[in-house]
């Protein structure tokens, strides 16, 4: 029983991490209709910014803020300088460019910061809570991760549903021509979408890193899992991304503990992806049936 509880809690915590990353993918998809494979590298880069600042003596929260700001800048710069040139062309071009960015950013960070493992401090404790003499696999830091992801999700839902900017971003993504005719400054909206997505990605990177290890490739497996989580949830829905992340986290944790062990986890993730795409191609929370990519 204790093992089941620990496995479940551990899966939920992992799932929240996947959800954090899936949220960033959803945001950029909603605001630009591009699946950004460079998201992981960009988040990793800002995590290294935070780590460098923490090692220079900054406190965690100041470093977090600095990382989010650098994420905003990085997202905007990438959109303006690189993505802008392939926007409006075939969609595949933009996707391939993000793949190229993914490799380039990772290599650049490896050159600057080295490729070895480094531990990343957590803002809250890493010891599990004790209930009735038993320590369970829920730590203060994991509570912080869960709260931060839920808050981010709520903010994103509010942004798209209740604000003019959110509406304009969705319009710019869906129909550039029409939006432009209606007075939406499409270029700015795309830049803003990239910048905000990079902020969410940076947050995800920092949440994932806290109390764990970072190295230039540490986001690689999370890119795959985060993508599966986002597709599970429909790629369009922040709530879907979080639910998808949690489902995936739980499923993989049970697979690792009870069905086949650690070596079949990646396989299980792909099986889940294929099954979802076969049974519900739009994802579990898709709002529209027709999709473009």
């Amino acid at each position: 029983m204790q093992q089941f509880i620990d496995t479940t809690l551990s899966g939920l915590a992992q799932g929240m991490v996947f959800a954090a990353f899936a949220l960033a993918l959803v945001l950029i998809w909603r605001s630009t209709r591009i699946v950004n494979f460079a998201q992981g590298s960009m988040a990793m880069a800002t995590t290294f910014v935070a780590l460098a600042l923490i090692q220079a003596g900054w406190n965690y929260w100041a470093a977090l803020a600095a990382a989010l700001v650098s994420g905003f800048v990085l997202g905007a710069v990438v959109e303006r300088v690189v993505i802008r040139r392939v926007e409006g062309g075939p969609e595949l071009n933009a996707v391939i460019v993000t793949l190229g960015l993914f490799v380039a950013i990772q290599a650049a960070v490896a050159i600057i910061a080295g490729s070895s493992f480094q531990s990343f401090p957590a803002p809250f404790g890493l010891r599990g809570f004790t209930i009735g003499g038993n320590t369970i696999a829920l730590t203060p830091n994991r509570v912080y991760v869960i709260a931060a992801v839920l808050l981010t999700m709520a903010l994103l839902v509010a942004l798209f549903r209740f604000t003019r900017v959110g509406l304009a971003m969705r319009a710019a993504a869906f129909g550039q021509e029409v939006a432009r005719l209606l007075g939406v400054r499409v270029g700015r909206m795309l830049t803003l979408g990239w910048a905000l997505a990079a902020v969410v990605g940076s947050l995800a990177g920092l949440l994932i890193a806290g109390g764990s290890f970072v190295y230039p490739a540490y986001m690689d497996s999370l890119i795959v899992f985060g993508f599966v989580a986002a597709v599970l949830g429909g790629l369009d829905s922040p709530i879907g991304a979080v639910v998808g992340g949690l489902l995936l986290g739980l499923a993989l944790s049970y697979v690792s503990a009870y069905f086949g062990g650690s070596s079949v986890v990646n396989l299980a993730a792909l099986v889940i992806l294929v099954v979802v795409l076969l049974v519900r191609p739009g994802g579990l929370f898709a709002s529209t049936v027709a999709r473009r990519a």
Binding site: S119, A122, A217, S262
Partner: protein, 454 residues
């Protein structure tokens, strides 16, 4: 010390560049020293010849593959810098039989596909005389057949897999460090004698490494093992595995895992409030490296930075925390003289010790070594090579296994305390016995002097 060792593993590219330059310089300076051979058996009068591939009148070229980048790079990328430093030291003293040793190591990023590629380059383009200390079980397995087919001596593989000890199938391949099976046996016996009531959990890398170790441990405490959990390298979530060990009631966990997974298992156990007695095999236990991995947590809310304190491990080489050991003193001198960036680490000592054994093998192969000759020489004389290892090698015509013993120690801070004398054994049913030989001391020149075999 912990801080600086992290700093130094962060610059493998710079180290590689420095090493390449150093090897280039060594090569340029080599011919000046020819004839000043310090090794044994430089018969006066006889001339040096280009006796085989990779051997000229005044050089011998050896190659290696190491992970200089990627997940396996922390720690392991330092090994070839140690080897380079020792060869520089030998070359500065005139080399072996008047030949300087040129050492070329390439990055395979711990990826077997890359290993095949760089090995092809070393053997076919660079025409190395021998492979020396190629690192890793999955990586080196990918090239072992090629090296044997080409007749390249495949000396002293940097891995404790049992695969390297097969004189019939792979006649040119030799292991070097104690294999994981005998390490498992020594760990198993230690548990049986000192923790007879412990419920033993195993935390294993899901490949040869974990498998060989488990085999050895189970030979002694099969009835005490309550759970064996395996992790796949690359999957960093070991929560389910540690939760399973805890649920099985294991109060003693023996790990056959790499250093980053030592850190991960400690961290996960902390989350679960799980506090068994840990025993990490030699590979996963370098306290300085694991400490540097866990170091940043102490800046967060983890107050207990010395998570590894009290864990048990095994040793078969002198280490940097034994400054009074004459071998450590020699290696410190060699490292300082090499002028490479960074401090002496246990990984560099490992690299130097391998280089030391190679120099012995080269001396034993005589004035004009051939590929076949050096394989014969290791088979005939290898068991008598005296070096920094705590126990002798097991080399013979039908046995290509490396060091045959180790001791158990307990980690205290970044240092360690010996818990047993040096114990020697062999694969299979062989008994574990206390090693009765004297601890070896290095020659005053710091360079071995082995007679050529006939």
């Amino acid at each position: 010390m912990v801080r600086s060792s992290r700093r130094l593993v962060r610059v493998p590219i710079a180290v590689l560049a420095a090493a390449t330059v150093a090897s280039g310089l060594a090569a340029c300076g080599g011919s000046d020293d020819s004839g000043g051979g310090s090794g044994g058996g430089s018969d006066a009068g006889a001339a040096n010849e280009a006796s085989d591939v990779g051997v000229t009148e005044d050089t011998v070229t050896v190659g290696a593959h190491f992970p200089l980048t990627g997940v396996a790079a922390p720690g392991y990328s330092e090994i070839p810098t140690g080897t380079q430093a020792y060869f520089d030291y030998v070359n500065a003293a005139g080399g072996v039989n008047g030949r300087t040793i040129e050492y070329e190591y390439l990055d395979d990023a711990y990826n077997p596909t890359n290993t095949s590629q760089v090995t092809n380059q070393l053997v076919l383009d660079d025409e190395i005389f021998a492979m020396l200390g190629g690192l890793g079980t999955p990586t080196h397995s990918a090239v072992i057949d090629f090296l044997n087919d080409e007749g390249v001596p495949d000396l002293f593989v940097s891995s404790g897999s049992l695969l390297w000890d097969d004189a019939e199938e792979h006649p040119t391949t030799f292991g070097w460090q104690p294999d994981y099976e005998i390490e498992g046996k020594i760990i198993g016996q230690y548990i049986k004698e000192n923790f007879p009531d412990a419920k033993v959990g195993l935390f294993l890398q899901d490949d040869d490494f974990g498998e060989n170790g488990e085999k050895g441990i189970r030979e002694y405490v099969d009835d005490q093992v309550v759970s064996a959990q395996r992790y796949t390298p690359g999957n960093t979530d070991v929560g389910p595995q540690i939760a399973a060990l805890k649920a099985a009631g294991a109060d003693f966990v023996a790990g056959f895992n790499v250093p980053s997974y030592t850190a991960l298992s400690q961290l996960t156990a902390l989350q679960l409030g799980y506090d068994p007695q840990w025993f990490y095999s030699n590979v996963g236990s370098d306290p300085a490296l694991v400490g540097s991995l866990l170091n940043n947590f102490s800046k967060g809310k983890v107050t207990d930075a010395a998570l590894l304190d009290g864990a048990l491990t095994t040793e078969y080489l002198p280490s940097v925390d034994q400054p009074d050991n004459p071998w450590t003193q020699l290696f410190q001198k060699v490292w300082d003289a090499s002028g490479q960036e960074g401090q002496l680490t246990n990984y560099r000592i490992y690299g130097m010790a391998e280089a030391y054994t190679f120099v012995q093998a080269l001396q034993a192969a005589g004035q004009n070594p051939t590929r076949e000759g050096i394989v014969d020489a290791v088979e005939q004389a290898g068991a008598d090579f005296e070096g920094p290892a705590l126990a002798p090698f097991r080399y013979s015509a039908d046995k290509h296994a490396g060091v045959g013993g180790m001791l158990v120690s307990q980690i205290t801070g970044t240092s360690s305390e010996e818990k047993t004398p040096v114990l020697t054994t062999d694969n299979g049913d062989a008994e574990i016995t206390e090693y009765d030989g004297e601890p070896s001391t290095p020659p005053s020149s710091g360079i071995p002097d082995v007679e050529p075999v006939e």
